[in-house]
């Protein structure tokens, strides 16, 4: 018999779900606040949403230690950007930076699943969705993380975004009003919480529009 001993993995999956919806003049970014490992809940109050710039917010799930390292890296890069250009980075620029930052670790990836939401240079809502190694796409809405498999088809059904293959290209932003988008986010999270054990406890919703940033909290099931 071989020697029995503890073993380790450099990765863990700490669960969590992130959703972002873009409208004509707003963006809603939401994530639950549960952090888990296996069948354990580590904490019920951990924010997955990070403000990277005035008009860019990132919600991330996956491996918490990698997510934190990624947030720190992006914040540091944004600070340098501010010193060099004396302005805030735009959301599309931050989207490219996030992609490059993820790809830089292509062969020892950040195990992080991100959605980046914000307002573009015209003030229009934008959502960028990523995989762990940096391939990304601008979309009208997106869900990432452990509840994404439950939420994505529901959003597809409700929002019917135009195909990205259409020519001439159609705008991907959703036709919803800000209030409708917030309500939709609440519904999809309440539903995902019913079946996904890694989603729950609390929902943090951040709304970005011309007036600035508003934050809202909603209780979710704690079981």
């Amino acid at each position: 018999m071989t020697k029995q001993h503890a073993n380790w993995s450099p990765y863990d999956n700490n669960g969590g779900t992130c959703v972002a919806i873009a409208g004509a003049d707003y963006c809603v970014i939401a994530a639950d606040t549960r952090m888990s490992t296996g069948y354990n809940i580590l904490t019920r109050d951990y924010s997955k949403i990070c403000k990277l710039a005035d008009k860019s917010l990132m919600a991330s799930s996956g491996f918490q230690a990698d997510v934190r390292a990624l947030q720190k890296q992006l914040s540091a890069r944004h600070l340098i950007y501010q010193h060099q250009h004396n302005k805030q980075m735009s959301c599309p620029a931050m989207a490219q930076l996030l992609s490059n930052t993820l790809y830089y670790k292509r062969f020892f990836p950040y195990y992080a699943f991100n959605v980046l939401g914000g307002l573009d240079t015209e003030g229009k809502g934008c959502v960028y969705t990523y995989d762990a190694v940096g391939s990304y796409e601008r979309v009208g809405y997106s869900a990432q993380g452990s509840g994404a498999t439950l939420i994505t088809p529901f959003l597809d059904n409700q929002l019917k975004s135009p195909s990205p293959l259409l020519l001439p290209a159609k705008d991907a932003v959703t036709p919803l009003t800000e209030e409708e988008a917030v309500d939709l986010v609440k519904v999809v999270f309440a539903s995902a919480t019913e079946r996904d054990i890694y989603t729950g406890d609390k929902l943090e919703i951040v709304i970005l529009n011309a007036n600035g940033i508003q934050c809202e909290l909603m209780d979710l099931r704690k079981d």
Binding site: A6, S9, N14, D45, Y46, A65
Partner: protein, 245 residues
């Protein structure tokens, strides 16, 4: 010319595994640490056992240590790695004192530092084999956080490592509240440690409770919890049970 030297390159050809100086698995380990916030600060509890595999090798190991003026560190996992971490922290606190500017690192800063140290070592595939609990009080602010061997970290009003996550935290979620007195806090921790003692085979009945407030750190003398083993099911657990033998 030199026959001894010519043999040297072959040793390295065996690859990094042959002369590996990495902790691939732990040797001497301590079990759970439990920490809670209470009215005036933080309380932390751990036992004093250290196991060599499943052998109880050491019975008087202090696994909670004060860090600087405002912090308290508790560790489970590899004891030697914990002692190495304490060396890092001693140096950190010493260099901080040498500025002599009246500033000092608080628990938030120490926790942040530990977080980076643990994550850095996992990036080098050479982890510190510990789960750490850091508590402290500075400028009236209570702080309680934890870091795992791969760098996963968070703050909470109560935390526990290892088995404590399974056995102690459900009790804490039921019974803990922010304005607990010192006496109630100690009672709650003793309840957790007693459950761990009964159900965690590597726990021993020699515990310490540490307190940190604005006034500083006090770590209790080692003491034993009252236990009761006289239940019938404990005396003869297999009576009435059907089995092939």
């Amino acid at each position: 010319m030199n026959m001894v030297d010519s043999a040297q390159p072959f040793k390295t050809l065996l690859g990094p595994e042959s002369d590996s100086q990495r902790t691939q698995y732990p040797y001497v380990t301590g079990t759970s640490v439990v920490g809670v916030k209470y009215k005036d600060g933080i309380l932390m509890a751990s036992d004093m056992g250290a196991s060599y595999g499943s052998t109880l090798r050491y019975k008087s190991v202090e696994r909670m240590k004060p860090i600087g003026k405002h912090s308290l560190l508790g560790a489970s996992g590899e004891i030697s790695d914990f002692q190495e971490i304490l060396h890092y922290l001693d140096e950190l606190i010493l260099y901080d004192n040498m500025w002599d500017d009246g500033n000092s690192l608080g628990p938030k800063e120490v926790h942040s530092y530990l977080t980076r140290v643990m994550y850095n070592r996992r990036n080098k595939f050479n982890p510190f084999w510990n789960s750490l609990v850091l508590g402290g009080v500075k400028n009236g602010q209570k702080y309680l956080g934890t870091v795992s061997m791969i760098g996963v970290h968070f703050e909470d009003s109560h935390v526990a490592t290892g088995f404590g996550n399974h056995l102690a935290r459900p009790i804490l979620r039921e019974e803990w509240n922010e304005n607990m007195s010192y006496e109630d806090g100690v009672k709650l921790l003793e309840k957790c440690m007693r459950v761990l003692l009964y159900r965690d085979r590597s726990a021993v009945n020699k515990i310490q409770i540490a307190k940190i407030t604005e006034e500083g750190v006090t770590i209790s003398r080692p003491y034993a919890l009252k236990t009761f083993w006289e239940f019938n099911a404990f005396k003869n657990p297999t009576v009435g049970a059907e089995g092939s033998w």
